[in-house]
């Protein structure tokens, strides 16, 4: 019985690096609390944690070796040889999701560093880094226990981050998010418990094997199917898929803007990672049933998100509803899965769409943050305040316009166009025509409001506007603006990156 657990720290580096950052920030804070001159040390440690995680992801991707760690040994089971199963696996899927989370979080950190985080550096940095560690762990999680704990580690810090706004609206937004998170955790745990009860396994590969056996009783499939539905519902809250989206607009509007960006980019990545890991890696055998559920969920989400976004005037609320719609787009390809064989393409399309969405959303949010900082209405500013932005701030307006084009999938934003094509292709290939048609209609709906916003940028300034404030962009914000824009342009020039983000097999 005596075994010494062996851990491959290199494989775990993308998770451990942000956690080390957390520990160091806390140690520095404990040594000298409230020392204003150490503020930059805190910032540097947080950035270093994320950069180290990014470096680890890059190194692992370049190295290319198949790594897996924290394994339970295989052996002779009743049904023959059982392969060893691991709790953490480094694969293309893992690394891609980790890369999105780390880059997105770095952007949000730089946006927040002198904004909402300035008064509460330690909690902000610790919570943000923990969330990133959670997403990174989630991307590599290959058993149900790790999956649940990693998903909570990824989503719970968001509550604290939202509440950092320190006013009544911020507290309300935080509590809304907390209650939603708790309710969704309950559903997820119930679902996971049912899947475990049906299969008797915790490791996803073993669950997949157990469910793909030839002589499965209907009862096992019924329990596992119910568990799957509940699990999807639980994760649906995190992704803000309709009908689990009700927290989204209030929370986005009540959160500090860079944190709203964090919710839109990193938390969405966590949600997709959980869906993909659970459904595609653990339950590919049930793809026929969950494919339909996800397809309906995605179609409803896209439609409702777009329809409500059409009516929004406040920029943040429009973005909140737009992220609901985009979450539907991210889920859409998974709805095309009809059997285990069609799962890998669907996952590749989903993750590809997420890459495009994350880059474009970060670009749009950066400009919104900048405008909110230079506008008397702050976070409550409306779309009308973007009128004539192209004349006052041509660079920011160009980035915003390009980001919106990418989100809408209009020609200059080739990245978004390709991502939408990639997302719809599995639907067409597998003959899920109804959903494909709904998706096509929603492309038009999305274009309507993104275009309306974009057109305001180049419109002539209104008569009632006072003297425009000259923007003073901080270096960190400029870095995010440039970086996000560069990513959007790069992916638009080389759209095959988005299209073929996950070559090879799914593991």
């Amino acid at each position: 019985m005596t075994r010494v657990p062996s851990v491959d720290w290199v494989a775990l580096a993308p998770v451990v690096a942000p956690l080390l950052g957390v520990v160091l920030v806390l140690v520095v804070d404990a040594v000298a609390p409230r020392a204003a001159r150490l503020a930059r040390v805190h910032d540097a440690l947080a950035v270093a944690g994320l950069v180290a995680a990014g470096a680890a992801v890059t190194w692992l991707a370049v190295d290319g070796a198949a790594r897996s760690t924290v394994c339970v040994p295989g052996g002779d089971g009743e049904a023959g040889l059982v392969l060893p199963s691991c709790s953490y696996v480094v694969s293309d899927l893992t690394l891609t999701l980790q890369a999105i989370a780390v880059v997105g979080a770095l952007g949000c950190l730089l946006l927040a560093v002198d904004g909402p985080a300035a008064a509460d550096r330690t909690p902000h940095h610790v919570l943000l880094l923990s969330a990133v560690a959670g997403v990174a762990a989630l991307a590599g999680a290959r058993d149900l226990a790790t999956l649940v704990i990693a998903l909570e580690t990824a989503s719970l810090p968001a509550v604290g981050l939202v509440a950092l706004r320190r006013d009544a609206q911020g507290a309300q937004a935080g509590i809304t998010l907390l209650l939603t998170a708790v309710a969704s955790l309950g559903l997820l745990l119930l679902g996971v418990a049912l899947i475990h009860a049906a299969t008797g396994e915790l490791h996803l590969d073993r669950i997949a094997t157990a469910l793909s056996g030839p002589d499965l009783s209907g009862a096992v499939l019924a329990v596992a199917g119910l568990g799957t539905v509940l699990g999807v519902a639980g994760i649906g809250f995190k992704l803000s898929a309709v009908p689990f989206h009700l927290w989204t607009p209030d929370t986005y509007a009540g959160a500090p803007l860079p944190i709203a960006a964090f919710l839109a980019v990193v938390s969405k990545t966590a949600g997709l990672a959980a869906v993909v890991v659970l459904l595609a890696l653990g339950l590919p055998a049930l793809a026929g049933s969950w494919g339909l559920v996800v397809a309906v969920l995605a179609a409803v989400t896209v439609t409702v998100g777009n329809l409500v976004a059409l009516r929004q005037r406040v920029a943040v609320r429009l973005l909140a509803w737009s992220t609901v719609a985009q979450a539907g787009w991210v889920l859409l390809p998974l709805g095309a899965a009809v059997d285990a064989a069609s799962v890998p393409t669907a996952v590749a399309a989903s993750v590809g769409y997420l890459v495009a969405y994350a880059a474009a959303t970060l670009a749009v949010f950066t400009v919104v943050v900048l405008l909110a900082r230079h506008h008397p209405a702050g976070e409550e500013h409306t779309l009308a305040d973007y009128r004539g932005l192209a004349r006052r701030e041509p660079v920011a307006a160009a980035v915003l316009g390009f980001g919106l084009a990418c989100l809408a999938g209009l020609p200059p934003g080739v990245m978004g166009l390709v991502a939408k094509l990639v997302a719809v292709r599995p639907l067409v290939d597998n003959g899920v025509w109804v959903i494909a048609v709904i998706a096509a209609v929603n492309v038009v709906l999305g274009v309507l409001y993104y275009l309306r916003w974009g057109a305001l940028l180049v419109a002539a300034p209104g008569a009632g506007d006072g003297a425009p404030v000259t923007w003073r962009v901080r270096p960190a914000e400029g870095l995010v603006l440039g970086g996000a824009a560069a990513l959007c342009v790069a992916f638009s020039v080389l759209p095959q990156v988005v299209a073929g983000v996950l070559p090879g097999v799914l593991r």
């Binding site: 019985m1 005596t2 010494v4 657990p5 520990v23 806390l26 804070d29 404990a30 609390p33 330690t122």
Partner: protein
């Protein structure tokens, strides 16, 4: 002959009930009783009872309780851990050290940030 384990459980429960019942009964029998309506009303410093007895607690209690929950969960892991330290040796000592160290850092943060100070 050893008794059935559940007999012991039942005996313990019965003993507990008996203890409580005897104490209350003795109290009842020994004390003088002259209850009036006036005596039964809630009384506090001469103020007539109005409304209900709820007084809002400080939100800080929540933080204390929350920290208590966190450390209760952490203590739960300690019990099984103690049974395998010998088998797993240093590696598991390091595991638990990291776990406890991280949690202790949280407590240290709360302490250094004066969240644990009442005034």
């Amino acid at each position: 002959m050893t008794p059935h384990p559940y007999v012991v459980v039942a005996a313990t429960v019965a003993g507990g009930v008996l203890f409580f019942a005897v104490a209350m009964l003795a109290n009842r029998l020994l004390r003088p009783q002259a209850i009036t309506r006036e005596k039964l009303t809630t009384y506090e410093s001469g103020v007539d009872p109005v409304g209900h007895g709820w007084a809002q607690t400080q939100v800080r209690y929540y933080l204390y309780t929350f920290l208590y929950v966190v450390f209760a969960v952490d203590a739960v892991y300690l019990f099984p851990w103690a049974t395998v330290v010998e088998a797993f040796g240093w590696a598991t000592l390091a595991e638990m050290g990291v776990f406890l160290g991280v949690l202790a850092l949280g407590l240290l943060h709360a302490w250094r940030r004066l969240a644990l100070r009442w005034t």
